[in-house]
Symmetry: C2
Subunit: 334 residues, 2 copies
């Protein structure tokens, strides 16, 4: 049988209104009682149903957003989409930058709970079990944006990264390139790492270019690292005519390196990026890339969170939005 | 005589603890009483002193940050600095994107108050009187980052924009350029607009180049607008050999335009930017620019806010941090 707020109050040895306050205005409840109530909620796996939730929790019309790296231009479009959706819903957004730091991420979940956000959009980072548990502990509705969690049933909005990478490399191959390398994210990155490498490999294999599977170097998230990775890649695989960079920032770092060794893009090598950040069309040469619908991902993720908060469920659990190849100047037929 | 919490309670016809709750956990007080208390606070110009404030207000160890445009890469460095300072102080940051929208900005101030942030960093937008009054109404300590408010005594951290622009243009002149134009922000922008134009004009006048004072076109905040403004500028002032762009993004838009009409930078024209955003050294050509210490501005602004919150005052009201000229590839002697 499902437990009720009455059961929680009994187990924690507090009044029902104290339980309500812990969920509603936790900072008005002394630490000791608050912990007791949270422990009781956990022990009983108490989960107010959607309707009761609305009655018990005060709606703050504020949504929390957790992003891993405010300096990465990828997030600008994502946040823009989130904000437009929030404005339409008459909600406010509070954004926190986690730096992919586990302790900070967990602190921010607690923070959001205490600030009574109605829910959280968790963007672009792997959903570690600790994060999942922390969200569950506070019964905070949340959705994933530009990431997903195959092991948990959490609503998510993102793209098919493997397919996007496959199409980028296929485009290079169909343009006549046969010697293709990759600058990728570390394979441990569950979203941008392994899937994009898998797409690269699938395209190579499909065209019998298996020998280039090992022509890949990994970079952390910044162009400086891609610059260094490009140097390693071209030392190890000197005959490449095209490079698939797993992000536009990587493509820019790669092109900067090539230029510094006197090679022009696309005259000497073609380079294709991924994401279509705003800079992609500003850069010289303008980047050929796989466009992620970042604005739409942000927009849909806030809508989905709102759906989850107001109805207690979502109609589509894992939503994949379409990506597309955008051909500009950084690639040419070989 | 300074009014006390007792006076506020009396005037609002509520208990002292209600006044305290309005300041401490406003969402637990019904709207009607809350408004009465806020009105009484305003009528009596009640301001808890720093010590009393600590006693009355619960510290949340959370700071609010208001920025005008999350898509502008200028803010990445600023937020990075704020975050590092906040982490050192064991504080959390909540960031809101105002889009320079007055109503949204005011809503966020109310929001931050209700979420009980300890204070606010207000970044890079003009401090309109309405904002100032809203902050005063809620007695929220706040500091200005990368902006300032000559008409109010509000702590601020920024640079000397007029002097920075002056040095940029002086550098072009001393490199032999005599026909210099500018892509600027609208003059109504109190920080990046008029002061940077004033610096441009001062340098021109100092070298007797007054005739080029009118070779200026204005752009909104994006490179697309700078691209269009560059087209206008070169139509109106076709003989220019150098352009001072009031932001790096403007410099990139200008260079993109020049390239599209077949002019290379710096071979045909020199272009100097402003800010030194991360992209400035990634762009091809790498930008010559005036570096703003964005990280330090962010870092110092949070330290200053903390100083204000904990002591009730700041040792330096208007703090100017040093800028510097960074010579890269987008300029050359004429």
């Amino acid at each position: 049988m499902k437990s009720t707020i009455r059961d929680v109050a009994k187990l924690a040895n507090v009044s029902i209104s104290t339980v309500s306050r812990v969920m509603n205005a936790p900072e008005t409840v002394i630490e000791e009682k608050r912990v007791k109530v949270l422990e009781a909620i956990e022990a009983l796996q108490y989960q107010p149903n959607a309707f009761a939730r609305g009655l018990i929790y005060k709606k703050s019309d504020t949504l929390g957003v957790m992003i891993p790296d405010i300096e990465n231009p990828y997030f600008a479009g994502l946040i823009r989409g989130m904000q437009d959706a929030a404005v339409e819903l008459n909600h406010s957004l509070m954004i926190c930058n986690t730096d992919r730091d586990k302790q900070r991420t967990i602190t921010y979940v607690q923070n959001f709970f205490e600030k009574q956000v109605d829910g959280i959009v968790f963007a672009s980072d792997a959903l570690h079990t600790e994060y999942y548990e922390e969200m569950q502990r506070y019964r905070l509705p949340f959705v994933l944006a530009s990431t997903n969690a195959p092991e948990f049933d959490i609503p998510s909005v993102d793209i098919d990264d493997e397919q996007g990478a496959y199409e980028a490399v296929k485009y290079l191959i169909e343009s006549g390139h046969r010697r293709i390398g990759m600058i990728g994210f570390p394979l441990g990155e569950t979203i941008s790492g392994l899937p994009r490498y898998d797409g690269f490999r699938r395209a190579l294999r499909e065209y019998g270019l298996n020998t280039f599977e090992t022509c890949v170097e990994y970079a952390e998230h910044r162009y400086e690292h891609a610059y260094d990775a490009a140097a390693l890649l071209l030392t190890r695989c000197p005959g490449l005519t095209a490079i698939f960079a797993a992000s536009d920032e990587f493509a820019m770092g790669t092109i900067s390196y090539l230029r510094d060794i006197g090679k022009s893009v696309p005259e000497h090598l073609s380079v294709i990026g991924f994401d279509n950040i705003r800079m992609a069309q500003l850069f010289i040469p303008k980047l050929t890339t796989i466009e992620q619908p970042t604005y739409d991902i942000g927009y849909r993720s806030v809508q989905k969170l709102h759906e989850l908060i107001t109805t207690g469920e979502v109609s589509v659990l894992r939503e994949k939005l379409p990506h597309q190849l955008i051909v500009r100047e950084s690639t040419r037929p070989y």
